[in-house]
Assembly symmetry: C2
Homo-oligomer: 349 residues x 2
């Protein structure tokens, strides 16, 4: 039942990715055998989506050990630290990237010698990719219970197969709802400035035969006011213990409009997305290049010499969220309690 | 003090317009001497903005009489009715277009013979253009009192010189605030899908030396949550007697976010924008071409064969609006009363 698009894969000691900057016009696969190229791919959004860049980070670390000339384990760890530094700087807000890199570091530190450490890093990265797909399918099954037959579901950005190794988080839930026999339709927001909604979500839903309508980001309020939307589901780049959700710019205003119209607003994200330490004011929201807003491709859509505010993410407060779907269950308000419980159950199991 | 860009002008028995589809890259003027070309210009957004298309409609009628071969007044009126029909179909939601066309029809019906009727239609259309500039300057002066030194003002779409004959409605108020000595900055939303914010508002504000920052439509909530916005001002395409405002798609969600953050939300529009007869549910919101959302210029940004919802306007309810600035004064809540008063005072003066 896994979606046929494989976003990221370890193949013959190389990392193979779909170049998402070429979608929806061309489905192109790129191969990397240098972690610096993987870092660049994350930075330029060849690969994007929190879970996918978590696994990409891990695969970057795998390439770093593979090509390291270190003769001692200490030197190998130094090489890994250097790779980690370069990889983390590509997308500082995404907690999964940090999670992926640290998980690899922990495994590496436990290795007994150079050769065994190299192998265990590579094996762990591959396992993380496999687990991502399993996690999404579990999350999809749990989350699909929240949706009804004939629902029209709004989603923002791309929390789909293309944001993960395969299947997707928010779109995984939609896939699971459809696979369970419910007729569901999707309204996808364009998601300016990078247009993940039109380029990726519309592309992969159409690829899977799921009914999808595209709207400009300005038509969220209209669609809800006209009664076209029954539920909203999006992914997350970072979730705090308080239930504050950092996700693609524009999420906050969609959540606000949903609340105003009494429409349930759900998040779907694996436990690796949670940051149990930070407070809302601690999280740095990265600003992206002005050129994303002042033009599209080679087409200039704004005059030269103006200021641009182009934040990658915004923060949705817990009072706007109806539930957070994870692979270990669904957290409901009050989130401080329910999120804590997810992690306790998780560590007990 | 009038802005140097003249959006639409009657010159040597022709209508001269800035081709706004070419902005911000090229400032091109186009000339029409056939009303059907004017209708097409309105339809394809060579000219846009409620007051500008009101005057464009009147100029279209002027071209229709100028080139009419009618030998009797009855035949001339028939030609005008035909032109009116074609012109009104271009943008059915915009009340100013209806207002412009009907004003011309009333003048024409009063004419004594063919030649005098032709002249009075042309003179009236020219007078409407002059009055539009005067109206905007009066509105600007009245509205500027609502703004403070060092305000950062968010605006949506283009309610500027380029939406009117010159000076602008919402941007006219911002110009007047600046001319009164207040330091003001502007945050302009991109305004997908047609990008009037980046292409036109950023262009004309930069042209006038007003500090402007461009944001994607998704960053409205972020900008307000970060405290970057003190006030919001937008134009209107149609205002009902109840204070319901039809304006560019995306206005409703900006108004909702402003309310949520306690930020005053103002409308600036001349009395010709008011529709004192219709109820909210009567107003038809036109759907525009899907291609506006699935691509930009020649660049395709969405897969083929998907559905698109692309409404031109949305409706902002009166409870989200702090004040409506007109050339006859500022209406404040409760709007049903204050709007009625504006028209009573107007007819008494």
């Amino acid at each position: 039942m896994v979606h046929s698009l494989k976003t990221i894969e370890w193949k013959d000691n190389k990392v193979v990715m779909i170049d998402q900057t070429k979608l929806p016009n061309d489905l192109v696969f790129v191969e990397y055998d240098d972690y610096q190229d993987v870092a660049n791919a994350i930075k330029t959004m060849v690969v994007r989506g929190a879970p996918a860049i978590g696994v990409s980070g891990a695969f970057g670390m795998a390439l770093a050990v593979l090509h390291s000339n270190a003769q001692t384990k200490d030197d190998l760890i130094k090489d890994l630290e250097e790779a980690k530094k370069i990889l983390i700087e590509t997308r500082p807000t995404a907690i999964n990237l940090m999670w992926g890199l640290e998980k690899i570091m922990q495994v590496a530190l436990k290795g007994s010698d150079v050769s065994e450490t190299k192998q265990s890093v590579i094996d762990t990265a591959k396992k993380m990719a496999d687990e991502d797909v399993q996690t999404n399918m579990t999350m999809g099954k749990l989350g699909s219970e929240l949706f009804d037959d004939n629902d029209t579901i709004m989603t923002h950005c791309n929390a789909g197969a293309l944001a993960t190794v395969a299947y997707g988080t928010a779109l995984g839930v939609i896939r699971a709802a459809k696979e369970s026999g419910k007729k569901v339709k999707v309204i996808a927001t364009e998601t300016r400035p990078v247009q993940q909604g039109s380029r990726l979500t519309a592309f992969e839903l159409k690829h899977d035969g799921i009914d999808v309508s595209l709207i400009p980001d300005t038509a969220v309020g209209y669609s809800m006011a006209k009664g076209l939307v029954n539920k909203v589901i999006v992914g997350a780049d970072r979730i705090l213990r308080t239930g504050h959700v950092f996700n693609k710019i524009g999420t906050y205003q969609i959540a606000t409009m949903a609340k105003q119209h009494g429409i349930p607003f759900f998040i779907a994200a694996p436990l690796s997305t949670f940051d149990m330490k930070s407070n809302p004011e601690d999280v740095v929201i990265e600003q992206r290049n002005a050129s994303e807003v002042t033009g599209i491709g080679d087409k200039k859509t704004a005059p030269d010499g103006i200021n641009v505010i182009n934040p990658a993410f915004d923060m949705t407060p817990p009072e706007l969220i109806s539930g957070i779907i994870t692979e270990k269950g669904i957290a409901k308000p009050p989130f401080e309690e329910s999120i804590k419980k997810l992690f306790e159950e998780n560590s007990n199991s």
